[in-house]
Amino acid sequence: MNLVGLALRNLKRRPVRTCLSILGIGLAVGSALALIALSRSIQDSTREGMDEIGDDLVVMQKGASDIFGGFIPEQTVERIAAIPGVVRASGELVTFAPSSYVNSVLTLGWPDTSYLWKKVPLREGRVPAMGERHVAVLGDTAAASLGKKVGDDLELIGETFHVVGIAAYTTIVNRGLVLVPLTDLQEASYRPRQVTVVHVNVEHGSGRTELAPVRAAIEGLGNVVASTANEVLDNDRNFAILEAVSLAVAIIAVAMSALNVLNALVMATQERTREIGIFAAIGWSNARIMMSIVIEGVLMCVIGCIVGVLLSFLAAFAFPRIPAIGNLISFKPSVALIAPVLMAAFVLCILGSLLPAWRAVRMVPAEALRRM
């Protein structure tokens, strides 16, 4: 018999309460992990999508809060393309376009002459021909969720587009895209001769040193900022808000798990007041008595965290199979994600155990022994 054995015996003594407490911790930890993972995965999916497009730099309006928020005159694209070191540049209008089939789809408008059309990994059909209007290429999951195939018509922002191709991108975000000619999207969204971002490929690789003079030259044009894809996402206000909200909810969820431990242990110590009196009577030190209670809390926390991690993996397995979620984001739990959540849960659970433990050792042993 040791303190861990004693704690296990005490937990087994109240199986229903112990199981419910552990489940509560598990759900809280699982929710926290899922929330943070979801927020991270939205960022990661977007980053992967941008990587797949293959930019060295992304140019946005200075001060734009996100990739939807700023507008750049179309002629700026030509000025950027003329900068020494820039291999090619393409304007892009980005918007969530309302469709009659689903709420909205992420829609990109590219100029007819953009190099980006050449990089579309077509699964079937073709890309728009030069000067062709009101045509669209759909990512495969966008096509599936819209129920469209090559040759069908699609309604976007009140305009009809003829589907001419289906793209087989590999990243979740790009698979959900609708690509249309820039002019059509500019007209439909009342943004004539405007783009939201400019994609830029730079000569001689994409190292920070090589990019620096090009960035400086682009930013010298005024009212624009050139960033790498990572920087764009790091500075994106939407992602920052999403991450802050997820973190706040995750903290609340983890705090709930600590409250679970606190509640279970307060009740347990109240019920076991007499036992605590016995421990004191046979000479256990305050530290040992507290330790016996904290170990109970830690054991519940360990098992609860394992349940929580398993639940998060279950969610990671299940979410991609739910079209409403899986078509938009990927969900990948990782050690870097799990470790801080578990650490926070542990610290809070130990703190939650300390209160009942402290209350226990404050009792006069003789009074504790008189309790039933």
């Binding site: 018999m1 009196g277 009577a281 046979i282 256990w284 030190s285 006069v364 003789a366 022994l369």
Partner: protein
Amino acid sequence: MIQAIERNAGSDKSPDAVPQVALRGISRLYDGGAIAALRNVDLQIKAGDCVAIVGASGSGKSSLVNLLCGIDYPTSGAVLWEGRPLRTRQQWARLRRLRIGIVFQEFNLIPTLTALENVELALLGRGLSTKRRHTRAAVVLDRVGLEPRMHNLVTRLSGGERQRVAIARAIVNEPKLLLADEPTGNLDSVSAANVTDLLFRLREKTGMTLILVTHDDALAARCARRVRIRDGVIVDDTSQAIVARTIGPKAAT
């Protein structure tokens, strides 16, 4: 008769010896002073003594014992162990771990544990390996005649057996002082006799001090010294009478 009592009473009977445990001007009040369990009590118990504390229910016997082992704290006065006052909970806890064993009327065993595990609990914190704790607890249970039932949950044991487990737990650390608070109060007459015999036999073997709280005069008579309490005050102490009769009234006052 007096010589026989003196022989039974223990090893160190010199009048100058430092008492093993002493209460000095102890009062214990409850409810903000409305109830006085003990009032200005002085008591000295020497190493090896066998003392019966007798009195009616509610007279203050248990309060006295609780203070003697530090599981309760006096409202005023001091408790001294080998001449030194004990003030902190940690001091008392250490003393109970190493020097004092307690046997309660209610047994106070952990119901979810076996007899062996209950005894082992008292060995935690002694720096012993699991194996040594196990062996030592088993040896003590064997000494109290419970070796065959040591793996039974204590809830499966009879009252007499439970009290023997409690005694085993109290003596497993080889205490210098054993306090037994109405140890036979919840037992039938046969079990009570067995438990009492066990306590006295253990005391004879080890020479430890035994303080026995009881309202049973016959049981108290087996102790060399009897302290009678009434309404929180010691009204009779046979040792003082013995001293008075041995060395004269002047010395006793």
